[in-house]
Assembly symmetry: C2
Homo-oligomer: 223 residues x 2
DNA sequence: GAACTGTATCAACAGTGTGTTGAGTGGGTC
DNA sequence: GACCCACTCAACACACTGTTGATACAGTTC
């Protein structure tokens, strides 16, 4: 069923591989201050216009001290994204069960809505994550894992529906799943950031769901 | 019918708003050398790892001299992309006529194939363009125009097919068009750059076309 | 309570990139 | 031969990033 990666925070300990060099003492506040400053600044301007110095100043420390807590600006953003993705993942858990309980239409709606909801409140962070993929391999890997999880879930749904006979045959389930998940990624991202052209926030789900349902359950008999 | 923007090269003159400061004399070679160096380096490594000095050296000039020809590294890439987009646009011209002549299935295939073909040979340039959108407003505007052109064309097709009665009613044509065009952008980009997960190069078109046909001509009657 | 250990801090440095200034050079042209 | 004007670049001024080395300071430990 492909669970979303757990953002390597082991339950009780706080030591994040991306965070501080070692330690466990007080300076937790500083680390949190840096993360909060970053989240806040990212809603104001893109990552490329935020310097390490901005983050340090915002957290009330000097630039070298910043490097005591994080190895780079990217690492801060990756930490934030790890958490966001973990949040989104926990809401995601149950595509299959939602589908089984509520039927395809309502189930899909619930699943996509949860997902969209997790990101909607922090467009700046989403944008930063997307930007990071251009230059940062770790960001690419992280997102690839997330995508892979969704694709696996959707593939399972399509195969299940086909085997039940409720969905017609067609292109391989996994390939359909990839394209559909990519569509959602792009469309929801564009909406979140208000690109032009993009779908309105209150229209995204209706439109995407219609395409998903037709792609999965429909057949085309063009005249 | 929304033609793709013509990359402001007026017919005979060579003066590009993004290029050299004024002039028209000899140094055309240098300008070309810079563009060629950029295209070549972009197939080797991402834009973020190419410096103005690399471009200057590649063209056999010093860094300050580079600035005589282009105001920035971004401007070089934008010039390259302008041209690429103009090329792709000229092949694009005839979605509607292709559809009318060959029918929806073959027509769509031809249209999407032309498009994909225009970019396939220069993935590095495509990647650079995509990366640029993160930091450069002009790049965003340029791409928005291109998207808008395609969306307008596809909207017209959907509306035409619905009015003929060959496509069923559904979500507004323009909104369907936006989502479908965004899906293609994302899926073809991922394939071009070999992201994971992505569709194989020889599968992209089959999968996208099935989704397009079902989304436009199909109805979903989930069981 | 002196010596030790490890967290936490930053001034100063080194390096790499960008974009600008100002001083040329050399080929037309009147 | 004086004057443009396209063209060129050494040297500069910044803005970043990441590192070094010295230091403060809070607990142990004996």
């Amino acid at each position: 069923m492909a669970t979303v990666p757990q953002a390597e925070t082991s339950p009780a300990s706080a030591s994040n591989s991306r965070g501080r060099r070692n330690t466990r003492a007080s300076g937790d506040d500083r680390e949190r201050a840096i993360l909060e400053t970053a989240e806040q600044l990212l809603e104001e301007r893109p990552l490329s216009e935020i310097s390490v110095d901005d983050l340090a100043k915002g957290a009330g420390i000097s630039r070298p001290t910043f490097y005591f807590y994080f190895p780079s600006k990217d690492a801060v953003v990756l930490t934030i994204i790890d958490r966001l993705v973990a949040d989104a993942g926990s809401g995601q858990e149950a595509i299959l069960t939602a589908l089984a309980e509520a039927g395809p239409q309502a189930g899909l709606r619930t699943a996509l809505q949860n997902l969209y909801g997790a990101f909607r409140s922090r467009p700046g962070v989403v944008r930063a994550g997307s930007d990071l993929r251009a230059t940062n391999q770790e960001a690419r890997d992280l997102w690839a894992q997330v995508m892979e999880g969704w694709v696996a879930d959707v593939t399972a749904v399509i195969e299940f529906e086909r085997s039940r006979g409720t969905a017609p045959a067609g292109q391989p389930a996994r390939e359909m799943a990839i394209a559909l998940v990519q569509m959602n990624e792009r469309a929801q991202y564009a909406t979140l950031l208000g690109e032009e052209p993009s779908l309105e926030g209150d229209r995204v789900l209706d439109v995407l769901i219609e395409i998903w349902l037709r792609a999965i359950y429909g057949t085309a008999e063009p005249g």
